[in-house]
Amino acid sequence: MDALLIPFLDATIRTATPLAYAALGEVVTERSGVINIGLEGIIIAGCLGGLIAAGAGGPTVGFLGGALAGLLMAALFALFVLRLKADAIITGTALTLLGLGLTGTVYRGVFGLEGAALGTPSIAPIALPGLSSLPLVGPVFFTQTVMTYLLYLLVPLLAWWLARTHTGLALRAIGESRTAAHAAGIAVDRIRWGAILFGGVMGGLCGATLVLGQVGTFTEGMSAGRGFIAIAIVVLGRWRVVGTALAALLFGGAFALQYLLQAVGWALPYQLFLALPYLLTLVMLAALRGRAEAPAELASHEG
């Protein structure tokens, strides 16, 4: 049983980690009342930013580079949506296109058609002393990369921040009613900028994790729809921090199951396995019932 369970759970956490970064960033962005469907473009920018920066200064610099790339993309989004009052959905669509195109252009420009080698400095899983020797839990939760461990800290911190600080409260208020927030003397646009940029940093870290924590190289289009999945995760997690982390875990689990089922060699069309995570999500959503409570301001997708 362990031969199936441990690899499955291990893959669940590994797959969920980058998704959780992107989705948690998007939670903050959406709680401020703006939906950024350009997350895909941010993630891929984070991938390339991470690769280039890591090449120059090692993995730590790499993660900073990924975050910076995501930040810049998000700043562009914020500029259009908040400053120019452009439609958020179209801006997001353009941002995705821009991210995919720009990374391809820069990648080919920097590395030529031979591409980056697999030897990009990346991070390896660290077995946490003590914890990692726990049965089942140890090899699954405590033998991961530092990015996963950061997440263990980040999730409660973010949940605490949203619930227990005035800035978090202000952010949630803006998402519900920017007029009411404005009346309370909150600098609405400044906080929205912050929320969007935070979403960008987290999306960039998602990309950097894919490159530096997993694949060890870059490929064009390697974000492969994770931006959209992260947005679905936010809805599934009902715009809550812990809920979103759990939803990311669920998606991670669905993908891990898909990998494992193919590897075990079930003789079914492989497309069924590929569709599995999405089918599972639909079932989960129906089972959870009740309408999710979206931030009220999301309904008008104007900044």
């Binding site: 031969a3 690899p7 893959a11 590994r14 797959t15 980058p18 391809g104 990648y107 080919r108 590395f111 058609l113 031979e114 591409g115 080698a117 697999l118 390896a124 894919l210 997993q214 694949v215 060890g216 190289t217 490929t219 064009e220 289009g221 390697m222 492969a224 993908f255 891990a256 990998y259 494992l260 193919q262 590897a263 075990v264 060699g265 492989y270 497309q271 590929l274």
Partner: protein, 308 residues
């Protein structure tokens, strides 16, 4: 650079290439682009390249190139065959070629790569190297050459080790290197210790997974991928697309194209099993067996599976 200025000299030999994916994938699309560059460098051809997504675009671009009087237009993949067949008759001066698929008529030809032959050899090598008796194949999506290669790989492995078990997985696309890696880790966890990948850019994730695992091997495809992770690579199933393109272009220039299908097999050296020189040597009797099988392939005496 040369690619920026197609059509500079109207009398020049003009070649266009359509790829279904990005030319930075270090595999299928990359080798085709190298082929295009080689035609430019060796034949002074003026070249044009386009990355296309949909069948509707295939046809549109074939027509555009035909209307501009290109001499040779190559669609890199079987998926271009319908478009070539539809457009070809209207532009008799242009030679439309697809890699894979079937040709039709004098100016619509197909290049057929005997991908199965080197894959069969790769299977033999894999069977020789596996300790667990479990080997794996990972593809992008299930396309004819991919599937053919995997079937031949299994057949070759069975020749060496009849009780061998094969795990098959598809990633569902050609870009998601992370999914490629996870798919590989899943196979490794199920005891596979030699993995043959054909997933283009996503395949880089397969290399990475094997590189980080201990005691497993990976086999590359399409391009010579032995250099990607030399310490864990057994060899590559090479399709020397540049060489094939060059042969095709020469035939086109000399008007000696023998359609509808140009077959490139072991005999032409276009497809071949390229062992990784730094990998440990295979057992002597397996190597001997591989040599004799290859010789049979070269003589056209041993069909692996289907003759296509």
């Amino acid at each position: 650079s040369g690619e920026k200025r197609p059509n500079a000299d109207a009398s020049a030999f003009r070649v266009a290439l359509l790829t279904p994916g990005p030319i930075s994938d270090q595999a299928w699309n990359a080798t085709a682009y190298q082929g295009l560059e080689r035609m430019r460098d060796s034949l002074g051809a003026s070249i044009s390249h386009i990355q296309t997504k949909t069948p509707a675009e295939f046809e549109e671009n074939f027509r555009q190139y035909g209307a501009k009087g290109f001499d040779l237009v190559i669609g890199h993949g079987f998926e271009f065959q319908d478009a070539a067949r539809r457009v070809g008759p209207q532009f008799p001066q242009t030679l439309f070629a697809t890699t894979g698929g079937e040709g039709a008529g004098p100016n619509v030809v197909a290049l057929s790569f005997a991908f199965d032959e080197p894959s069969y050899l790769a299977g033999m090598a894999a069977a020789a190297m596996t300790r667990t008796g479990v080997i794996g194949v990972i593809g992008g999506t299930e396309l004819p050459p991919v599937k053919l290669g995997f079937e031949a790989f299994l057949a070759g492995a069975r020749l060496v080790r009849p009780d061998i078990r094969l795990l098959t997985a598809y990633i569902g696309n050609w870009d998601d290197a992370s999914a490629g890696k996870e798919q590989t880790l899943a196979q490794l966890s199920q005891k596979a210790d030699v993995i043959y990948q054909n997933a283009d850019a996503a395949g880089l994730g397969v290399f990475q997974a094997v590189r980080q695992a201990k005691g497993a091997w990976v086999i590359g495809s399409n391009a010579d991928q032995n250099g990607l992770a030399p310490e864990v690579t057994l060899g590559s199933v090479l399709v020397d697309v540049p060489h094939a393109f060059l042969l095709l272009a020469r035939q086109r220039q000399a008007n000696t194209v023998q359609g509808p299908t140009l077959r490139f097999a072991t005999a032409s050296e276009v497809v071949r099993w390229v062992p990784n020189p730094t990998a440990p040597p295979l057992p002597e009797q397996v190597r001997a067996k591989m040599d004799s099988v290859r010789a049979e392939f070269a003589a056209g005496a041993r069909p692996v599976l289907t003759p296509r």
